[in-house]
Symmetry: D4
Subunit: 205 residues, 8 copies
């Protein structure tokens, strides 16, 4: 696999079933860790002006609405409500929305990792996309399920990522125009970094 | 590896040595988690009307009889009692039963993961099958053994799965006829989902 | 503290806010472990014919209805719906229901451990009851919260229990009339024990 | 120990050395979990209009400034900058600030748990206060240090708490005037609860 | 509590329900760790010539026979087969056997920790004995149950121990006659110590 | 990778630096678990009459002598004392001993996993052997080092194993002549299995 | 228990069996964490000029010599070599050395926690001393043994400590003369703090 | 992948952003473990006289200066201060420094593992280098991020290593001239080994 980095020009972000009900089933990491990673991914998407597609599974049923942080951060992102397809790739409107972005690199996250994320990821690989699965901005029922999903996706050629890696690969150089915005996002969602900034500024006076 | 999804038409399920005695050796996950995953896999098999083969190792000895939840859920599944072969693939009646299903995708689970599941999985791969190992509906002596077995199977091309992923891939679309049954299975064996349904129905009135 | 064992004649069981919504916040143990312990406690209560009181917090709101396993197992238990009191002991109807049982030993479980269980437990201690908190039939947001709640209750004289200990203390002697029923409950909810029974019966023929 | 609950009228909150530099040493829980608990405690303090005292250790040195979430949420709280005293109780201005609140129940949190929190807690106990240590809104170097600090404080009669328990004990009844504000705080900082609210509102339409 | 050390003259050892079937339910520590601790305790008992009482619960049923390492090491110890009493102290022959030892300090271990060990321990405390519960030579269903049982016993005044502590307290001085035997036991069952001895002897030549 | 199973006719076992001193550095699993796995591997080697090679690193220095269980179980196995080569494959006598076995499948275990085991494994792969690394009969400094070593070996085509998998693959059929011996080995070193046998025999009478 | 803080004038430090051989058995924390805590405690002892007593168990045998960091840091501390007494308090020279310090507060650490530390601690309590056990500068065979030892000591009135808490209580005020030395010790042995200092100084220029 | 071992003649070491500020964000292992591994890697680099390149990200900002142990150990290593490039490979001076070493095998470590280490590793692979990532001398925000970074690097052909493996592969034979120096490094940074040496020397007299 050759290393061809993610950029604001070549990637799109797919949010799969980050719904309020499903999110309460996340137990592979602590809920504050999952929630902060999802919020960070949404903000990154906006900061880098990446095309975003949001999709839901039965959002008017028990799975619940999309997490507000996503829709509030990305108000213009299309939301594909799937009436029944578990694999979003099985929904033509979803695939069309992906194709419309014109991007060949897909950054995918969602709930649950082994179903909603893995199925989209494998289908996208089959359709010729490069796929990057953001494991910490995704969630599932327990650590074992996460481990198995990670193994399946890596086996199939999906690139495993976490949100800070996505951010850093997109930013490339801190001097790029998005640098300050990214520092704010990291300061809030990677709290160690926010503390570091706070200490430094105080020391500098 | 191309993504060719599991379906009710192309897959069979193999239950390897899920016996009462052996199950008490399972320590790679909590016993309630293992037991509920096994029960769910059996019920899925029935719900999707998948061909099932059950096999045992010395079931009249200390390994004990098959877990009742399996035989009660799948009363018509053939049970191949192996008199001594550790790798079920070494038993001609077992292989014949597999072949008789006409399916080329095998969903395999059992105790122990690194012996009964791995041996069947590797032999099936060699014989030209696609193999899906259901790690949480399988069990073994401790977490390290599970990790090593997972690595060995992935290295050999076995697809690692968990039971919810199997269910979702088979269901494909919640509007398919098995949807309601699957929701009941998930409501019971993925208890978060049952709670979600209960809350939703109450809120809806 | 003198050891004065629980019996079917001296104890009552209090189920505090075991609601579907709140239960999905339980992350101090796996959800299958929590759910199976709660079910076991309900069945024990019935098996030993103990007086039971169920209470809820805003059950028509997001906290959701009582877990069906509890109400189905104990259809005659009074349910005190609290309109707002977080500590059930602050609700006169609840205290009255407790007093009506005539029992001075209270077995308490609920969600969350550090709020609903602890507050009732401390108030009951203050009111002169002996209190037994069933930690595994209770649940809370993470392991740390569980540890702190356990420490607070032990410090205040609450006796920490788990459901198997409650069962065993109530049963006292396997030859007592409830023995067979208890064996069935344990066989299902402490799955190791069910497996043990299955193996033994098979070996005996 | 008799149970005499915390209320908006009898308690004050002490934030000890929640500074940006020190906070980056917290490893007994994940940093997102610690940070969200501290923020929640600050907001609770404001919501219940509790007297608050903030103290720092060498805030113009490497320990860094107070976490902004605290000072922004509680802009009127006195900040006692200690020039050198490790135990804040050794600083007369601090003790005077405590006494000025007129409260005899102190809710204490800080970094690190075994030093800044424990020393203040033990001194306050000695001075006749009831002390409640909020373990999850405090932090320290690793889990072992947390366990030892918890044991030392419990041994000395300090009541161990977590922030949700503090919130619930102060609120007492959801119908009290602070109910809506508290629900918002919990929705944000106990994310499971926010998700629950979101799902419920959507289901209700 | 005054420190009055265990000695070969003042203590007896009670093995409660260390049966083959029950032992397979032990999941609070790894099974090799539990088994090696039980074996060590049996050998210590013999090495110090301590009176021992073995008791079983329904040993001709699924709980199974006593672990052979115990009966083989202590062939002369009385075995009290309880026909139904869960708390061994409820069996007169058991209490009589205890009394017959003339010892007032009881070292207790067994399966499960929260039932068989805790009940005997609390009853013995009530009857005026000093009780030492050997947690690692006991076992139970999961770590949480162990933690709760430990908390309950400590609350009631039971002294928590592990087998090496028992050994060391009994030995008191390595020059005592049992020193060489104890070194052999420790060399085998605390394998680090055996390795240390092996390295030392080799280095010494 | 085609599945070509281990057998008593095609495999040899290599024990690399299982020395008393080095073994005390093992912290990736508990020491009782490591020691029992090593002993089991030695006994398997004897039971299946596999050629064995033992090698040491500076055995007259701090690393210490070979674990006695290995040399006592396999008194005829050649021991190659390496005067300095860290990778045993760099020692001609060692390679010669390997070649002399005539086997092309090497089962390798040792301390430490990432050095002594990995280096031999990679060199053997390069030399055209099939290599099976027994992770639980090997040990290293902490869990992270184990994980990294496992990843490196799998990446290079080494087959990851645990001792029970080795045993089962060699045995192939319980009716083979080594069956009874293997059952004894498993009964002792996989204690759950020994307990299972004990319960079964007792139930059978 | 009244809070009467440790000071350079009222405390002595006891190092019990921190020997090279025994230290390699420590598995309740990682070895780097244990070693750095022990070194820190030795340096603290010197920094505050506290009387120190070192004792060993069979230091010319497999237990090995005292860790060099202790003897090098505290070259004038008396070393009581015990020929056989496991509980150092049973050695008259040791007790005499303690008494000679004239201090009534003993800070105790050692290997192993449940034997060497606990026995000395309990005997010292009985002899009228205040005892502070430094759990992280002590070590034992696994986490469970640590937990049990902590529970036993707390039950008996020993105050549980960690080395940073000891340091902070002795220092009392950073402006005291030992402040700079302590900052250096903490910078090295609590590496987060050293990093914090480094960043701060760089920011300050 | 053919096994072509690291040697003092074919490898260079790259230290990426081991800065004081960033290091305080490391939570995938304990900080003492991370710090000791980094120090060991620096000393190894010196001991084997390997070319080293140090690079920093905004070292005059909050990320802080390079850890002093690195610059003090390797005073002559070039330090490439990157003004903004997150992937060091994007900085021409850095690539030039790499090329100037003339080495085709790069040993890479840094903070954070999934960003600074992974990006350099993937770029170096693409540029034709063999890359060895030292996971324990690198650090990141939590264990999950480490696991994902490890998976991504292994997928891309990076060889995962830990510092002791690097040391052993470079040393090759203990009789080589660097043997004594390496033993000292290991004695200090793999403390078990230092203890082993201490015990051995004492036993030898």
């Amino acid at each position: 696999m050759s290393y061809d980095r993610l950029s604001a020009d070549n990637a799109a972000v797919v949010f799969v079933d980050h719904q309020t009900g499903l999110s309460n089933g996340v137990q592979d990491q602590s809920l504050p860790e999952y929630m902060t990673a999802v919020a960070a991914l949404a903000k990154l998407t906006k900061a880098f002006n990446l095309p975003a597609i949001i999709t839901t599974s039965a959002a008017d049923g028990p799975n619940g609405p999309v997490l507000p942080i996503i829709t509030q951060t990305l108000p213009d992102a299309p939301i594909i409500h799937r009436p029944g397809e578990i694999n979003a790739w099985g929904n033509p409107a979803f695939v069309e929305a992906i194709e419309k972005t014109g991007r060949k690199k897909l950054i995918v996250a969602g709930v649950s990792t082994e179903v909603c994320v893995t199925f989209v990821a494998l289908s996208a690989i089959k359709a010729g996309y490069d796929v990057y699965a953001v494991i910490d901005a995704s969630g599932t029922w327990n650590k074992l399920v996460q481990e198995v999903a990670l193994a399946r996706m890596v086996q199939a050629g999906v690139v495993p990522m976490t949100w800070v890696a996505v951010a850093a690969e997109l930013q490339a150089d801190w001097r790029n125009v998005t640098g300050e915005t990214l520092a704010q996002i990291m300061g809030l969602h990677l709290p160690f970094y926010g503390n570091l900034l706070g200490s430094f500024m105080a020391a500098k006076g």
